[in-house]
C-alpha cells in the first residue's frame, strides 16, 4: 500500500460526516452504517492514491456503501426481525406528535424491499436524478422508476395518504 495518510485523513474529515449520514439513511441503523462506512473507507484507502488521482473519491465511497448496504440487507433477511427504532434508543426524541408520525413513516420505510428503500433515499433524500440513481445502483433508469413507483405506492397505501391527501398528518413536515 502506498497511500498518503494525510490526504486520506483530510478527505475523511471533510466528507466523512456526510457519508455517514448517507449510510444511516440507507441502512436505518447507525451502528451498521458506521461499520459499512469504515469498511468502504478501508477499501478506498487501499487504492487511495489511484482513486484520489481520478478525482471524486466521494462517489466511489457512496457506490461502495450502496453495494455494502445491499449485501448487509441480504444478511439481515436471515436474522430474526428486530423491532424498534434507534430514534428511541438514546438517539433522538422529536416532539411527541412528530415522533409518532416519523415512527409510522419509518415503519413503512424500514419494511420496504432493499431496492425500493435505496431508490427513495437516493431520489428523494439525496436528491439524485433518476440517471444518477441508476448509475450509483448499477441498474437501469427504468428500474429506478419502477422501484420508486412501488415505494411511493406502498407509502401511500400504508399511510392512507390517498384518502388523506388534503389533510396534514399531524406533526409531520415541520
Amino acid at each position: 500500500m502506498n497511500a498518503d495518510p494525510a490526504t486520506f485523513t483530510a478527505f475523511v474529515e471533510e466528507r466523512g460526516a456526510g457519508l455517514l449520514r448517507f449510510a444511516v439513511a440507507l441502512t436505518g441503523d447507525h451502528d451498521l452504517a458506521e461499520d459499512l462506512l469504515q469498511g468502504a473507507l478501508e477499501r478506498v484507502y487501499r487504492k487511495w492514491d489511484r482513486i484520489a488521482r481520478r478525482g471524486d473519491p466521494e462517489s466511489y465511497v457512496r457506490r461502495a456503501l450502496v453495494n455494502a448496504t445491499r449485501d448487509s440487507w441480504r444478511q439481515r433477511q436471515r436474522r430474526p426481525e428486530r423491532i424498534g427504532l434507534r430514534d428511541e434508543e438514546g438517539g433522538s426524541y422529536a416532539p411527541w406528535d412528530e415522533m409518532l408520525t416519523r415512527k409510522a413513516v419509518g415503519g413503512v420505510v424500514e419494511r420496504l424491499p432493499h431496492r425500493q428503500r435505496t431508490v427513495i433515499v437516493l431520489r428523494y433524500w439525496a436528491d439524485l436524478t433518476e440517471a444518477e440513481t441508476a448509475k450509483l445502483m448499477g441498474v437501469s433508469v427504468g428500474t429506478v422508476k419502477s422501484q420508486a413507483h412501488r415505494a411511493l405506492k406502498a407509502l401511500r397505501e400504508q399511510l392512507s395518504l390517498d384518502d388523506q391527501a388534503n389533510e396534514p398528518v399531524r406533526g409531520a413536515g415541520r
Binding site: 458506521e34 427504532l85 409518532l100 388523506q164 388534503n166
Partner: protein, 241 residues
C-alpha cells in the same frame, strides 16, 4: 410510471420520507477517530461497545406509538381513557390487574405535564419478546418543552407499569439496548426493591425498575431529565394497597 390520481399523495409521501430520513440522520456524528481506525486497520469499536450495552427500556415511547398510530400510520387520538374502561378487560389474566386507582404520581419536575391520563394500557412494541403470560402493561408519559434551538431535546418521563406475575430481571432482559449505558445498580426506594441505570448517549437517560410488591413493577424512564429529578419523581409515586 403511470399517472396517479393522487399526485398530492405522492408529494406528501416524498415529504414524509424526507422528514423521516432527516430526523434519522439529524444527530449523526462521525467518530473523531474514523480515519485513524481505517489507516490503522482497527476493528470498529462499536462491536465491543454493543456487547457491553445493557438492555434497557424504550418500550414506553413505542407503546404510545402503537396505541395512537394505528395500522395506516395516521396519528389519532389515544382513544377512550382506560380508566373508564372496565377493569374486566384484564379478565382471563387473573394475576394482572388495573393499577390505575392505586398509583398516584406526586412530584413532577417543573415544566413537565401529563401527556395522557390516566395510565394507558398497551402492548410493549419495543420489547424483543412478547409480554409474559399473566402480565399486563400500562403507560404514563410526562412531557416538557425542548429548550430553544434544541427542539429534539424534549424532556420526557415515561412510566411503564406491569402487573401480574412480574419478574424484573426478565423484564429487563426483554428491553432494548441503549447507548453508553452504565451497569444497573441499586436505587433507594421507600418500599420494595429498585435497580437503575443511566445512559449518556445522544440524550441523557435514566431508567429505574422498581418492584414495590411481588406482582407489580414500575419502570420509570427519564429522557433529557436530570437523574436526580427522575429519582425524585419515582420516590414521589404513592401506592395504595
Amino acid at each position: 410510471m403511470t399517472a396517479h390520481s393522487g399526485e398530492p399523495a405522492d408529494e406528501r409521501a416524498r415529504e414524509l420520507v424526507r422528514d423521516y430520513l432527516d430526523g434519522l440522520v439529524e444527530d449523526v456524528e462521525l467518530p473523531d477517530d474514523m480515519a485513524l481506525r481505517v489507516i490503522m486497520g482497527s476493528a470498529p469499536p462499536r462491536r465491543a461497545r454493543r456487547a457491553a450495552q445493557l438492555s434497557l427500556v424504550c418500550a414506553a415511547v413505542a407503546t404510545v406509538a402503537v396505541t395512537t398510530v394505528l395500522g395506516a400510520g395516521i396519528v389519532r387520538d389515544p382513544g377512550p381513557s382506560p380508566a373508564a374502561s372496565p377493569v374486566a378487560t384484564a379478565a382471563g389474566r387473573p394475576a394482572a390487574y388495573d393499577p390505575t386507582a392505586m398509583i398516584k404520581f406526586g412530584y413532577v419536575p417543573a415544566g413537565l405535564r401529563e401527556e395522557n391520563t390516566p395510565l394507558l394500557p398497551g402492548p410493549g412494541l419495543m420489547e424483543t419478546r412478547p409480554v409474559p403470560e399473566g402480565t399486563r402493561r400500562w403507560l404514563m408519559v410526562y412531557r416538557g418543552s425542548a429548550p430553544p434551538g434544541q427542539r429534539r431535546k424534549v424532556p420526557l418521563i415515561i412510566v411503564t407499569v406491569t402487573t401480574g406475575k412480574v419478574d424484573p430481571s426478565a423484564t429487563r432482559d426483554t428491553l432494548h439496548t441503549l447507548d453508553q449505558a452504565r451497569p444497573f445498580g441499586p436505587v433507594w426506594v421507600p418500599r420494595g426493591t429498585a435497580t437503575g441505570s443511566t445512559s449518556r448517549g445522544h440524550h441523557h437517560q435514566s431508567i429505574v425498575l422498581w418492584r414495590p410488591r411481588p406482582d407489580l413493577v414500575i419502570l420509570v424512564q427519564g429522557v433529557n431529565v436530570a437523574t436526580e429529578e427522575t429519582y425524585r419523581f419515582l420516590r414521589g409515586i404513592a401506592l395504595s394497597d
